[in-house]
Each structure stands twice: as C-alpha cells, then as structure tokens.
Symmetry: D2
Subunit: 337 residues, 4 copies
C-alpha cells in the first residue's frame, strides 16, 4: 500500500484528490498538510468527506512527511510549492506537483509570467510534464512530475495529433476555452461572488493567461518549431468543466473522416481520451471523470476541435493520480474508472 501525503489539502484539488484516493485500492492517505494555523479535521473543511475519512490536517513539516510517507502530492499554490518539493525529493519521496512551479522548463519564462523568482532550478531540470497521453514513458521513470494546468490539458489533447503530424498551420491556432468557476480556486473575490458571476459569461486575461506559455512549450516540443497560440479563457456559471473550442487551419485539405482516423490512431492506447463521432461533447459528459472527450469538424482547410474535461479531475487531481499510478507501477486507470 503506497503511503501518500497531500500538501495543501484544504482547496478544491486537495478535496478531489482525497475523494479519488479513498477509492484507490493501492494507495492510502497518511498525511494531510495545510498552511493554516489551526489543525482542523479535514471533514470540517470539506463536509462531504464526513464519515469517509477521519483525519486532522497537520502543519507542513517535511520531517513528518518524510518519516511517514512514500509519495507526495503538492496542491500548494505556485511559489509555495517549490518551498517544499525539494525537501520531499531529497528525502527520497516521489512527487506530483499540481502547482505551476515545475511546468515551464525555462525559469525565465516562469519568472516573467509568474512574477516570482524560481528557487529550485535544480529539480526543475528533471521534472517531467505529467500529460500521460504524451509522456507516459518519462512519467513512469520520473520522481518529480509537474501536473499540467487545466486549460493546457484540454487544449493540448485536442491539438497534439495534428501538431505532431505537421498537419496544421502552426501560426494560426486559436483556443477559446470556457471554464467552470472552481478553476479559479477557493478564495472569495468580488468577481466570483455568486450574484456577480452567476447568470453571466465573460472572457478574462485575453491573450495573457498564465497557461499560455505552458501550451506553447508543449506544442512547440511536439511540432519541433516555435508555436505561439492565441488563447482566450472564459468564465461560465457552473462549478466545473472546461470546454475548449479550438480553431485551426489544415496544412492541406483532409476529410473529416481522415482526421478522425488520425485521432483514433494517435489515442489508440489512451484510456482516458474518447473520440465522439456522432455528437458533440458537453462538459457534463465528463463531470467527475478523468476523461477527455474530443470531437472534430472540418470544412475545407478549416477545422474545429472541441475538447471537454473536468477541470478538477483530468485537469488536476485525476490526472495527478494517473501520474501516481504510472510512477508507482500501478495500473494506469486504477481508482479512476
């Protein structure tokens, strides 16, 4: 039984991680860390866990973590995460970091977008980007996995087959994403006050969202050329889910059937990617699941890809467990179906 620590258990990704791990036959939660001053029962923080787990949050003490656990999930916010991850690694633990701290290979890009110095360059170099559909082999061998952002997960899965086979114009990629509000975290703010964001849809951070360099990095790697996508996120009045509508120019005319075949082939061993052919995915279809549903439509040289994920599962905690499964040698889908 793998002994698991969760750092930062009081947010939404922590909560979802706990719920998934409670049904995981080979992992056991033995430590729940928080930066809070008090030491609440986790069920006081997340009442839906009452009767399912009895455990108090503990302070973030890496000696405790090292002495008691084999595997660490960091759900801490960016910059906080890189304060603790090095100690976990040095103690011989494996880590999936859900923050953004180890996603961007270039520390300067990190510093530009996150407006903070990167203080753990050493481990940044060895971190593996935790998108199992693309990097399963590396993840299997990794001791530090950077769990992808929610928007990049949905967008990259929708684009990877086309980009890696050189079938689209790389300078004309548009990602229009619509996210439920849990994606913004658990901290109250005027914008996320119910009567402000309910019954409303809005774009935000047009062209300047921090997930943009992450998409660019991975897509560029696949294309072996510099890619700079146009990314516009939107907030939609619902708890969770991300729908990414992706607009591309095909490099040559290809029939929709051929594109679908390409996707089917590319994802033939991907247990969590599903190609919808007859209808279009709604985010509700993946609610609470680790699946990404994709659909394609092409018109001459233009194509639209629709990608649906649950931002808290495939876009965060589910994918984190998928990564753990690979790193620990478990069945990749364990606890996730």
């Amino acid at each position: 039984m793998l002994k698991v620590a969760i750092l930062g258990a009081t947010g939404y990704t922590g909560r979802e991680l706990i719920k998934i791990l409670l049904n995981h036959p080979e992992a056991q939660i033995v430590y729940l860390g928080t930066r809070r001053e008090d030491r609440p029962q986790i069920s006081q923080i997340h009442p839906e866990l009452t009767g399912r787990i009895e455990a108090a949050c503990e302070k973030l003490d890496m000696e405790l973590v090292a002495g008691r656990t084999d595997f660490v999930f960091s759900c801490l916010p960016h910059t906080a995460s890189m304060d603790f991850v090095p100690q976990c690694l040095d103690a011989g633990l494996k880590v999936v970091d859900i923050s953004a701290d180890y996603r961007l290979r270039d520390a300067q890009i990190y510093e530009k977008w996150y407006e903070a110095e990167h203080t753990d360059i050493q481990h940044l170099a060895e971190s593996v980007y935790g998108l199992p559909e693309l990097f399963a082999d590396d993840i299997t061998k990794a001791r530090l996995v950077a769990n992808p952002g929610c928007y990049p997960t949905g967008a990259i899965l929708g684009l990877a087959p086309l980009v890696s086979r050189g079938l689209i114009e790389l300078e004309n990629i548009i990602i229009d994403a619509k996210s439920g509000i849990s994606g913004a975290g658990r901290t109250p703010s005027p914008t996320l006050h119910f009567p402000e964001c309910n019954e409303s849809v809005a774009a935000y951070n047009v062209g300047v969202h921090r997930h943009t360099p992450e998409m660019d990095q991975i897509l560029s790697q696949l294309a072996e050329k510099e890619i700079s996508v146009t990314f516009v996120p939107h907030i939609v009045p619902m708890d969770r889910g991300i729908l990414s509508t992706i607009y591309v120019h095909l490099a040559k005319e290809i029939s929709q059937g051929e594109v679908e075949e390409l996707f089917a082939d590319f994802y033939k061993e991907a247990p969590f990617v599903l190609l919808r052919k007859d209808d279009l995915p709604a985010t509700k279809d993946v609610w609470g699941t680790n699946f990404c549903h994709l659909a394609l439509r092409s018109f001459g040289r233009k194509a639209v890809i629709v990608s649906a994920i649950d931002n808290l599962i495939k876009g965060a905690s589910g994918q984190a467990v998928e990564n753990m499964n690979l790193m620990a040698g478990f069945e990749r889908t364990e606890g996730l179906l």
Copy 2:
C-alpha cells in the same frame, strides 16, 4: 421634479434604486453618495448602467445633500445609516431608510439583535414602517420611513389578513423562507463564493435571524397581542427572489374559498399584491417587479400561504420608491409598473 439623493449607491439596493428612478417621470437622481475613498463613475461600479446615467459617486457630505436635494434614500448598512439620517431630517429633507436602523420601535430590541447602540432615539420615535399595504396613510404623512426588510415584507404580506382578523393561532406561525443570494449583499465571503453556494440549498440563522423581531413587531401590532414567529431563512442558488412558505393553524375551520375572499378583500386596494388562485407563484413570476404574489391552501384547520417577491424590488428598492411616491404625493405605482 423631485431631486433625489442616494446614500450608499454602490451596493445592490443602490443599483436597483437607480434603475427604477431612471424610468420615474417625476424624480431625478442628483446625488450618489458612497463611503468609498475614490470617486468612481457609477457606471464603473454597475456596468449595466453605462449609457443610462453619467454621474460620479460623491463622498457622504450632508451639506452637499442638503443643498442639492429634496429626498434621500439611505442604502447604507445598519448603524452607518443612523449617522447620516438625522442630518438629512434636520435639513428638512424626507428620508426612506433601507437599513434596519429605524425599523424596530424598541431601541433595546434593536440593540440586542444588532449588537449596537441606537444613537438616534429621537427620530426612531417618529419613523413609520414602510409597508404601504398596511401603513399607507402614515407613510403619506411621514418624513422618515423605515423601509421593511426583505423577509418581513414577504412574510407579513402573507400573514396580515389572517392575523389582523384574528383567524389564526398566534403561537403557531412558521415562516420558511428561501432567498436568492443578492439578499446577502455584495461583499464576498467564503459562504457566497460561487462554487460553495451554487448547486446547494441550506438553512442559516435558524430561529435567530435579525428579521425575526421585525416580523414579530408588526404582526403583534396587527394582532394587538404578542406574537413570536418561528422563522427559518434559506439560501437558494439564484440571484434574487424570496419565496416564503408560511404554515398556520386556523382558529376555526374556514374553507379555502373563504380565506381567498378574505385576502381579496384585505388587498382590494393594494396595487402590488396579487392573489394567485389557480396555480402557485414562483419567484420568477415577480422577478424585477414590485409585486407580491400570494397563494393559499387550506386543509381542515391547517393552512399554507405561499408568498413570492423580488427581494431587491418589493423587498427593498421598489418598495422604497413606492414609499417615496406616497411621501411626495405621486401616484403610488409611478415608475413601478
């Protein structure tokens, strides 16, 4: 043209008041006050007002108000309101106070429930409770009207005919109210963060909500006996609306038809109370209106009254304008149909 000041224009009741007054043929907004340090355009605070009113918020300066206006709406929170209302009255202005400061006749009860000293006992004594269905004559002559709370408005309108005619057991009145979230105001909090209160319904302040003594006071006055209701408010994931489901014991068996006749008679001159006979009101039926829809069902000696209002209109700003209309000698429905 009545020159109107709004103190505390940046909240939800301020916004709704502005929207109503913009369509009022005999009133004109000439002052928008705020406790904020900056002086924003009101359309920056409420973007839906853009292009409909161009005015900057001003600081709360009673000389300005006195010099420029005839009539004051205070949308300030309780305790803040009684800091300014006396000066308005002393300057000869008429005032509708939307806060709770002048609703409870007994300052000790105010102090108990609001945990603050009442600092304007003098004007408290002359204030009139602004429920026009019951007190139109007094309101017409008043210079200070205390606008009722949202919950009391819906509940009292549902109970007044029965209580004032002595037809129910006074010790057995239960009010189960369901409110949209704007009722809690515009300040963000963990409880009102979208992913916390969306897709959820909850009771709060069971038996200890501050609107309880207000209901007790008015109903006791109608009954000419002490009444102490059981009141449980609930929060429902929607922007606005209050549905009050009221449970009473009839003092004797009366047919549903007779009760309906009683209500029809009691409210025969009330332009904003509507008795629904064939179906039941939903809060959506009164969305954005100053109406209260009522329906009755009786079973032997038990009866249920359902009352629907828009908490921001009949429960706040609409009723405030209705009071202004009476105080200024306008048609009672002016600007409200």
Copy 3:
C-alpha cells in the same frame, strides 16, 4: 460476484446505480433493460459512462433476466414496475424496486394516490420498506425491498428518533422540503425547461404530493398512532439534493443537547447518518454521497430539524445498493464510501 440486472437503465436513477455498481467489488452489472424500442449502448444514453462500461440496453425480457442474473433493481416508473417484479420474484431473484409500487402497504391508499389499480397485492404483502436505519433486520431477510421515495428518506430520518420515542406532538409535524430538479425525472416538460425553472424557486403539490402517504405510513408505524404530516415540496434550481426543514412541537421542554444525544444514540449504528452539531448542513455537503446530514435547533417547546440528502443517492440509487448489500450479505457500506 453478484450478477445484477437493472430494469429501466436510461433514467437518472439507472445512471447513478450503474456508476455506483461499477465501483462495487462484489456486484457486476450483467443486464440493462429498457422499454425503448431501440437498443442503444448505455454510453449513448449516458455519455458520462463512456469508457467505463460497454453494454447495450436490452429489451425487458424476464427470461433473459432470470437466466442471467441473481439480483434485480427496478428503476421503472410506478405501475410499470409491478408488471415485471412478480416474474423476477417467481424466478427466484431478489428485487429492490425503486418505484413506488411496493411502498404503500394498503393497496387502496396506493390506488387513491397513484390513480391506478395495484395488480400485485400478493407480493406487496411481503415487501419490506427499504430504509436501513429503521428496518435493517427485515431488509436482510427480504426478497423484495421497496426503496423509499427521496422526500420520505430525508424526512423520516429527521423525525424517526423523536417520533419513535414519543417526544413530539404528532398532529403538528411540518415538512418543508427543497429539491433539485433531477428529482422530477428525465422527461422534458414546460415546467422543467431551463429558462422556466432556472433562477426561480416554487412550491408545488402543496399538501397533495404522493410521497405524503409514504411518510404518514412509516411515521405512524413508529409512533404506533395515526400521523398525518403537512408536507410541502419545493423545486430549487440545482441538479440534485434535498433539504428538508422539519418543524415540530416537543411534547415537553427538552434541551437541544438532550435532543442531540437522543439522535446520536438512535443513529449510533447508522453508518450513513451524520449529526452536525456546530453548523448546518447544505445539500452540497452530501452531493454524490449516501449520507444524510442532520442538525437540530430547539427553542422552548419548538424544534427545527434540518435534513440533507442527495435525492439520487441516499434518496434513490445509493440506498438501493445499501439495501442490496444487506440482502446479499455484503458489508452495508460496500461501494458507498
């Protein structure tokens, strides 16, 4: 491995049942029946099941069911259920019926409220009401369990300790329930069209909802006296969850602490009932779980009980699996934590 059939798999209770059983270590779905003419893959009906179960719906053929399965869940609507249940029982299968067909012991009451003749009086007599907190022993021995309605589950759990200990006035029980919209099933109607019921709360079937005689029957049995509750259901704009606010008169003055102790004692062996002492339950706290959260408040001789369940889990499919666990000799919580 228990071989399970689901009759009527295309509705919401069927979907939730499948999701629960997919994670149940001792039960396996081997038959999915539908009254539809076509034979769709179940994942076409419930896209969220894609990749988790591959199975086509089959027509309702009791020979197939009898030949292949050990245990039957009927998710058929009332009257349709009693067309198939007898054949299942005669074939030696055990049955949990989620419809209303076997809940009311008195066929005349059934016929009055459901406006249909009861055609299986024989098995009605042996059916056990499937509320495990009250009837676990009988359920364990039963071959036909009538799964409780969603509203009765929440209400009876909130009342049972008080009623069975004779601590409340039986003629003064009021249940004000607020339900998410999935409780009304999957058939579109004008009332449940999104722009009609969104942003609105409404009462319906005041005093005449079909779940009323079910509550009366069980509570009367506990009290050993006739009870007739006042029950008013409401529709709230959310997918799922029921909050029942229950108003009672205590037979004598009892402190809140004593009432809480009574509840704690009454439910000391109930794995899915949780008493909240410090705060009040929201339906979100039980979302997707088989728990019922209860809270109590008393004021002199009046008391309020708040009860929260997920109408599709503890109020339907989760409780059905809980019953299966008891009937099949599994751990009662298997698959449900």
Copy 4:
C-alpha cells in the same frame, strides 16, 4: 399613440416586447395574437405580466389586426411569419418581423438553410435588415424590417468597423459565441431539460448554424466581397445573454489604441454601442438592456473582439422596438433606456 399588434405573443420575444412597450410613452399594445387554440389572458402565459397588462390573446386574424392597429411585430417562428406579414403590409401596416423570414435576401439561400420554400419573394425584396447601427436611414423609410438574429447582432457589431474599413483578412474570421438558453425558445426538449443543460457548456451546430448565412450576407455587403465566417455557437447554463469572442487577422499591424479609435469613431452616433476600454464586458453588464458592449485586444497582427448583448433585448425585442422607433419617427432610444 401608435397602436401596436404582437403576433405570437406567448414566447420569450413576445414577453420581452410587451414589457418594453408597457414603458413606451408613444406606443400602446392593442392586439396580442397567438396560434394557440385557447384564448388565455396574457398574464396566464407570462405570470410576471400580472397586474401590468390585462389582455386576452386573440387568434391570428389579419382583419382584426388591420382594423385595429398601425404597427405589427411578428414574433412567429420562421415560415409561419411569412404567412401573415404580406397581409399586414397589404393592409398598410408597418411590420418588424422578428423571425428569419425576411433576413436573407437570396430566397435560395433561405430555402437551403431553412429547408422551406420562401412564399413571399415580393416583400422579401423590399425588406430592410434591421440593424440600426448600420442601416438606420433605410429602416427609417422601410415598411418591412427584418429584425436581425441574436447571434448576428452581436457578431456584426463587433466586426463592422473592421470589415467596412478593409482592415482585416476576410477569409479568417472566427466567431465563437456563448448563449444563454432562452435563445433556443420556449419549447421543452431533452437537450434543454434543466438537469441536462445545467452545470454544462457545449458547442452545437458547429459550422452549420442558420445564423451563419445572415452574418455572411451583411459582412459581405460591408466588405463588398464574399465573406464566409467560421461560426461556432455554444450553450451556457444561464437564462440570457450572448458573448461573442471574435478572432481576426489584421491586414496590417495596427495598435490597440488605433483600433479603439476606429471603433469609437464608427459608433460615435450609436446610442446602444458602448466601447469598454479598461475592462472586458460580461453578459451580465447588458442584462435586460438594449446595449452592446464591445472590447478589443490586439497582439501584433492578431486581434480579439469581445461583444456582449442580451439575446432577448438587443438580440431580439429591444432592437425590434429600436426599429419601430425609427420607422415611426420616435426618438431612437424611446422606451429603451
């Protein structure tokens, strides 16, 4: 006082039209037509109108309409509308048609997209496209105005300045629109059943929505070249509002400031178009108003335009009244601020 008829008063556009006209100082509703067999009071159909208008729906009888009214709004669905509009025009009435029947100048395109023969080619030729920001002069002189579709309104307003000044690549226009659910009308369907579309976002009719040829027609006219946009509509769980996120390639590099100046100049006399410079519009900012809020962001040669309208007001009934105001010689903003 202009005497107004509404054909098809029982849907959402009819309801909104009535609400606007009730506050219009120069127009009076004198006829409410329906295709229903019964003759309900309009307040039975739209309970929120109770106490504000007392009128029964009448059958669609053009003699009645001609004898009693000066001006007709048709809120009938497409194909039904062109059954009645000719008779209104022949009787000398002016008409705003909210259906799609007179929007597409080329009857063959109509027939292809709407799969119905166009039976009123004669009046089609004279109809004017009712987007006042572009065609106010023609509307003023028209006797038949085709009110624009909701999606085209938001999209064309966002594109018109750029297209008409030749500043973008015409083959690369992408419109990603997110609509509230009232846009789909009042008829229940499985897709719009609350528990299906709530808490979910989905694309639909990708590249094949009927509003596409309408956008193409108007934009082509502005560009004086054939344009074929890529249009993907989405459904968002809210009552109303459309946010259109529009992606274009600038023909040359232009600064964001210059583009904003261009828009400010283009719309300098447009009372209902508002350019947001400092922040981005949410659909809530235009809820219930006839405004279109626009914002621009440019990055090198790429630009994003965000356009927010209320689909039922600027996207339907508000714009219809704006057109009436022009056709009848009233102030353009009358009844709409």
